[in-house]
């Protein structure tokens, strides 16, 4: 009966292109990066010298590497403690208005369909000290000129604001979908019991959307660990490495300066840090927000 769908040759032929590309672009690079991370290789010559953990200890002893790690950490902290509350607040607000719901949803989502590079250029213009929007706006309140992207103490926060501006709406729409899928009866029952809007949001809606908030946090962490293009476009990691993240640090110390082995040890460290954070998060936080059945 099902012979046509049991032909091994057809099965293999259908899967072959996928398996070929998957091996070439996922399995091979992971193995390759791990292997060369233990070598000093310039990426071109035939001589590959095995150096053990030398690349790793070099990274660990470089203060600039730790600045990059700290900046990845700032990406995560910014999204968990600043973006997530904003995401919850605005998704609740949009879920509770009757008019203009569609407009709000479309508008807040818009920045996330655009190229991060172009958004970096746009915000670079906004942060321009003399003619940019930001200083002109703050000037209305008598605030002095700030050199957003060239001042060490402002550059990182400027990038974080731009990144938040681009992605907050994306997560608002995700959380909004979860809020709308909560059965109306729960909210109505609480309303009959005399709960205020604030109480209903805090005691009913927010606990019910915790699983999706957990997803939002995981996605933000994943996004934070691979952030690179926004930094490259806005500051190129400057001023003097103050805004480098691990991925830009890796690129800066590999392609242009032919340190393929060292660059790959940073790649492996990105994997390891991502893994540690994911596991820690799953153990400490996600366990407590189990799936809720209505």
């Amino acid at each position: 009966m099902n012979k046509a769908l049991r032909k091994p040759v057809t099965y293999i032929l259908f899967l072959l292109p996928t398996l070929f590309l998957f091996t070439l672009f996922f399995i091979y690079p992971v193995i390759n990066a791990t292997y060369y991370s233990f070598t000093s290789w310039n990426g071109i010559s035939n001589v590959v010298k095995f150096t053990g953990l030398a690349n790793y200890s070099r990274a660990m002893n470089d203060p600039n590497f730790w600045i990059a790690v700290k900046n990845n950490g700032l990406f995560i902290l910014f999204s968990v403690f600043i973006q997530v509350p904003i995401i919850i607040l605005f998704s609740l607000l949009i879920a509770n208005v009757k008019k203009l719901k569609g407009l709000y949803k479309t508008a807040v989502f818009a920045p996330s369909v655009m190229s991060t590079a172009v958004i970096g250029i746009l915000w670079g213009f906004i942060y321009e000290p003399d003619i940019g929007l930001m200083n002109n706006f703050l000037g209305l309140f008598g605030i002095d000129k700030i050199y957003w992207l060239s001042d060490r103490s402002w550059a990182m926060i400027s990038i974080l604001i731009t990144n938040g501006w681009q992605w907050t709406g994306f997560y608002i729409v995700m959380v909004l979908a979860a809020i709308i899928s909560i059965p109306k009866e729960l909210d109505e029952a609480a309303m009959i019991d005399g709960a205020t809007g604030w109480q209903r949001a805090r005691k009913i809606t927010v606990p019910l959307i915790m699983p999706i908030i957990s997803v939002v946090i995981m996605l933000s962490v994943a996004g934070a660990m691979k952030a690179a293009d926004i930094v490259l476009v806005m500051t190129k990691g400057g001023p003097s490495g103050a805004t480098d993240v691990m991925a830009t640090y890796m690129l800066k110390h590999s392609i242009k300066s032919f340190k393929y082995g060292f660059g790959n040890s940073i790649a492996v460290l990105i994997f390891i840090f991502t893994l540690i954070i994911t596991v820690l998060y799953q153990l400490l936080v996600a366990k407590r927000t189990e799936r809720i059945e209505y």
Binding site: M1, T10, I255, F271
Partner: protein, 276 residues
């Protein structure tokens, strides 16, 4: 009455958020028709007294928008179509063919691909492209873009194909159709809604991609729009009016597509959130 005030309070807060999202775009749009930096600085928030549309003509030429635009379009379309062809064949084999022992394993393997932080693999892929002599040709982007979208595409397509009833191809088998005809004539036409979604998501991802495009191509005539725009910014950052016109050129096509297909785009991108 109290309810009305509360609801309008919500709108005030939401409109403030809207202003924060939309004002940067307006700022660039207004700046793009201003005469020079002095006019932007003296009147940053409003429209200029005299519209200088020649900025658009100048930016089109100086930023080589037409070249970059066509490169981006070509690469994004070809890579997205290639991904869909390859991934839908694999999804068909995994969900509809009767190899119930092997298929779940293969699916798990491909899922791991989604969890790998892509940017960290840039160096080995760069090296791979160099060994293939692909660097500084469009192949250096076409092949990695096609490959990188495959795991996400398979996840979406297998979920969709699993939901199709098995009776469909049982009837087809009785009629004597072979596996590849079942795939082409029956499963693919039914999967069109999911194919549209993954095409949009992959197209946008490829259209916006910056890192590989920045490092794998150095020839100016091959560059894609995001990389070309950054180069233009670096060369013309003294003339913000013209740079704004360049930004408008690169934002408008995406905005038009978004305006037409927003439901599909929102659905696809949030489903593929994993892709980041």
């Amino acid at each position: 009455m109290v309810k009305k005030i509360k609801s309008s309070m919500n709108h005030v807060v939401l409109l403030a958020y809207l202003a924060v999202i939309l004002f940067p775009f307006l700022f660039v749009l207004f700046s793009s028709v201003k005469a020079n930096n002095v006019e932007i600085a003296s009147n940053p928030f409003g429209l200029p007294t005299e519209f200088k549309f020649s900025n658009y003509a100048d930016a089109w030429v100086n930023a080589k928008i037409s070249t970059y635009f066509l490169n981006s379009l070509y690469i994004a379309v070809v890579a997205s179509v290639a991904t869909i062809l390859i991934a839908s064949m694999a999804s068909f084999a995994i969900t509809r063919m009767r190899f119930n022992k092997l298929s779940p394993w293969l699916f798990q393997l491909i899922l791991i691909g989604i969890l790998i932080p892509g940017n960290a693999l840039l160096l080995p892929i760069y090296n791979l492209m160099r060994q293939f002599n692909f660097l500084d040709t469009h192949w250096a982007l076409l092949v990695p873009y096609t490959a990188n979208s495959i795991p996400f595409t398979i996840v979406i397509l297998t979920a969709f194909m699993r939901s199709l009833p098995t009776e469909i191809e049982e009837a087809a088998v009785v009629d004597g159709l072979r596996a590849h005809s079942i795939f082409v004539k029956i499963i693919m036409p039914l999967t069109v809604p999911a194919l549209v979604t993954v095409f949009i998501v992959n197209f946008l991802g490829n259209w916006n991609e910056f890192l590989l495009a920045n490092y794998f191509l150095s020839e100016d005539s091959l560059k894609t729009l995001p990389v070309g725009m950054v180069g233009f910014r670096d060369a013309y950052n003294i003339n913000y009016a013209q740079m704004s016109a360049g930004i408008v050129y690169s934002v408008v096509p995406v905005m038009v597509i978004y305006a037409i297909l927003q439901e599909k785009i929102i659905e696809g991108l949030t489903a593929g959130g994993v892709k980041g």
